[in-house]
């Protein structure tokens, strides 16, 4: 499936943390032509295996999370208004006046509303609206909505995948369906390359609530190398200075910090230089925030690295990125995989 089409399909479908079942099915279908096995584990991580040509060969796990942040029904109030809470890190200020789908017995449309500005005090208008003051209005009576919606039902923002200028695109949940798409692109590239090692492509669950799926899927696979693929902050006007961001369209980021094994990073950057694949260095002193955090400290430890796709407006419904960054990073990863052997893997435990 073409990258744009796959990403459109994934980002438009719902898959809030803890409820990734349908998302896993979509990913599994897309991966299956390129892999030998597809399975789901106990927490619904989608695990695909493309076997290597070697005997007793080492393995690499590529992990990108398929869950997205979202909202959940906290309470059904009089007149049928739904009070909500967030699943994952939602910025309340991006929610006002969004059109949403409430995933009840059947999907129903809702609008995120709050007290009208006309009726607010002047000083209220300059303040952000808090989550507990927002509500979802579905236009149903209390009686009727209680037949359709229960406490704990999920809510996602309605947003069509949109192609912007040239290779740029915007959608909800690019974080981290773009990473899942990068795995698919890597698997496609690998069709034309010989690789001796086993390749696990894992669409992980529950990253947004604490990299939970990465802990359990890594435990099950116990790869020799783990590569987390996630999105990183793209440069934009405003508070972020250049040092904390990457340029969209100039290649994906290669992470640098305690969560990244120095030898894997070195090999990735050397290979990128050799193949003339654009990349950026993304320094990060904190190991937190991506699946690499969990993968690295599973069981007796996994040598890990991090690939970041530059993305603007993270954790909003208009996450924007450059598709070329995904394609170039996929080429890099596929070639990296093709060049790994026993000797390289053995060396990762020698400090």
């Amino acid at each position: 499936m073409k990258l744009e089409k796959f990403l459109a399909q994934l980002t438009e479908a719902p898959g809030v943390s803890g409820y990734e079942g349908q998302m896993g099915d979509l990913v599994g279908q897309a991966f299956s032509p390129y892999v030998d096995e597809v399975r789901k584990d106990n927490l619904q991580n989608l695990i695909a295996l493309k076997k290597g040509s070697g005997k007793n060969c080492p393995s690499i796990m590529l992990a990108a999370h398929m869950d997205e942040i979202g909202l959940m029904v906290l309470k059904i109030e009089e007149k049928g208004f739904l009070r909500v809470t967030s699943v994952g890190g939602v910025d309340e200020r991006t929610l006002l006046s969004q059109e949403v789908t409430v995933h009840g017995k059947k999907p129903i449309i809702g609008i995120i509303g709050a007290k009208p500005p006309h009726l607010q005090q002047p000083d209220e208008r300059t303040k952000s609206i808090k989550m507990h003051d927002l509500y979802v209005d579905c236009g149903f009576s209390e009686e009727k909505i209680k037949e359709l919606v229960r406490v704990g039902d999920l809510i996602t923002i309605n947003r069509e995948f949109t192609q912007l200028h040239k290779s740029k695109a915007a959608a909800k949940a690019m974080d981290d369906r773009a990473g899942v798409a990068l795995i698919l692109e890597t698997l496609k590239e690998l069709q034309y390359l010989k690789h001796s090692i086993d390749v696990y492509g894992v669409a992980t669950v529950q990253e947004e609530v604490g990299t939970r799926g990465a802990f359990t899927s890594t435990y099950g696979i116990m790869p020799d190398i783990g590569i987390a693929i996630d999105v990183g902050h793209g440069h934009m006007p405003g508070i972020l200075n250049k040092e904390d961001t990457m340029e969209m369209g100039e290649g994906s980021g290669i992470g640098l910090g305690p969560h990244v094994h120095p030898k894997i990073r070195k090999k990735l950057t050397e290979l990128a230089d050799e193949l003339k694949i654009a990349y950026q260095i993304e320094p990060s002193p904190s190991p937190r925030g991506t699946d690499a955090y969990a993968m690295q400290i599973t069981r007796s430890g996994v040598p890990t690295a991090l690939i970041s796709i530059p993305l603007r407006y993270m954790h909003t419904s208009v996450e924007t990125l450059d598709l070329e960054d995904i394609k170039s990073a996929a080429r890099l990863l596929a070639n990296f995989i093709a060049r790994i052997d026993h000797e390289f893997v053995e060396g990762l435990k020698c400090f």
């Binding site: 584990d41 906290l74 704990g152």
Partner: protein, 332 residues
């Protein structure tokens, strides 16, 4: 049941000091399970053997408390917290040590309530001076709230309902369940209040196919209270999400089905903060489908936690209903 609740909530057992609770539960379960043992961390594990898959229930024995860090020359005790307290609620509360010494918490006299923190609080055990205090307690000793547990009709008030009431539910269920298609582990865990620690190591050892925590949950039914769905007296609460776990859809739906088929009064719970043993269990090894049965409880982490006996009974029925069904059917 009222008697058991009173006895078990009045037993001493801050995190790390659960052995008296272990003794009480062991005596209650004697003859009702196939084996019981205490593991390295101090968890009490009661195993009722069955032919099928393993289901692990976990309720924690530990309560929040305090640890003595310093003894003043006048005999007052300085302390720090074990688990989550709100320091501004502590003034005037009574505490008890393992050896029976009781004391009263008070604060520096010029402190405004909203400025209260552990630096400004102390415990008075009535000692004349440091030497006498040291003969009664030592630095490093822990204490917990000291209150009688009282019943007012179907409502009971006392400290440590969090989570001895969960222990009571497992005890009652274990006493009533004579056989099950499942291999049942009732785990009475330690150190939940300081980070779900006992559940983590016991789940690793048992490696169950399904995990279920039993713990209290705050309610939204008090004046100008939190916007929460759960009400005291509205039945057992089936958790959808808290900060530690998103209940596995299979387990959540299993609980709902059992409740509906057995006419057990239930409500759905979404909690924006907090965690239970399920948070640790579900991330064990390759992941374990897990959920939580919550007991509605007002004033959680205060010395007067209130539960409704009808809710408690509904929780017991839900546990019994779950173990009556072969969980292999649910998990496939």
């Amino acid at each position: 049941m009222k008697d058991l609740i009173k006895r078990i909530t009045e037993v001493f057992g801050p995190s790390g000091q659960e052995s008296k609770v272990v003794e009480l539960i062991k005596a209650e379960l004697e003859g009702h399970v196939d084996e019981m043992y205490v593991d390295i961390m101090g968890n009490l594990i009661a195993h009722k053997k069955g032919p099928g898959k393993k289901i692990m229930f976990s309720a924690h024995m530990d309560e929040i408390g305090f640890m003595v860090t310093h003894i003043e020359k006048e005999g007052y005790l300085r302390f720090t917290n074990i688990g989550g307290h709100r320091p501004w609620t502590l003034k005037g509360l009574r505490v008890i040590f393992d050896n029976g010494v009781i004391g009263n918490i008070d604060c520096h006299s010029d402190t405004k309530p909203n400025e209260l923190n552990y630096d400004k609080l102390f415990i008075d055990i009535g000692a004349k001076d440091k030497a006498e205090a040291e003969s009664m307690v030592k630095i490093g000793d822990s204490c917990g709230f000291y209150n009688s547990t009282l019943a007012n009709g179907q409502r009971m008030i006392g400290n440590s309902m969090d989570d001895r009431i969960g222990c009571v539910i497992l005890i009652e269920a274990a006493q009533q369940v004579k056989s099950s298609p499942n291999d049942i582990y009732y785990v009475f865990s330690v150190q939940e209040e300081v980070g779900l620690r006992g559940a983590k190591t016991s789940a690793y050892r048992i490696h169950p196919d399904m995990g279920v925590a039993l713990d209290v949950t705050p309610t939204g039914d008090t004046p100008e209270g939190a916007k929460l769905n759960v009400k005291l007296g509205d039945g057992t609460a089936i958790k959808v999400k808290d900060a530690s776990v998103i209940a596995h859809p299979l387990v959540k739906n299993f609980m709902i089905d059992v409740a509906e088929k057995n006419n057990i009064k239930y409500q759905l719970e979404v909690l924006t903060a907090g965690g239970t043993d399920a948070g640790a269990i579900h991330l064990t090894k390759e992941g374990i489908p897990s959920g939580t049965i919550s007991i509605p409880c007002r004033y959680v982490h205060s010395p007067s936690e209130m539960v409704d006996l009808n809710d408690v009974k509904a929780c017991v029925e839900l546990v019994k209903g779950m173990v009556a069904i072969d969980i292999a059917q649910i998990l496939d």
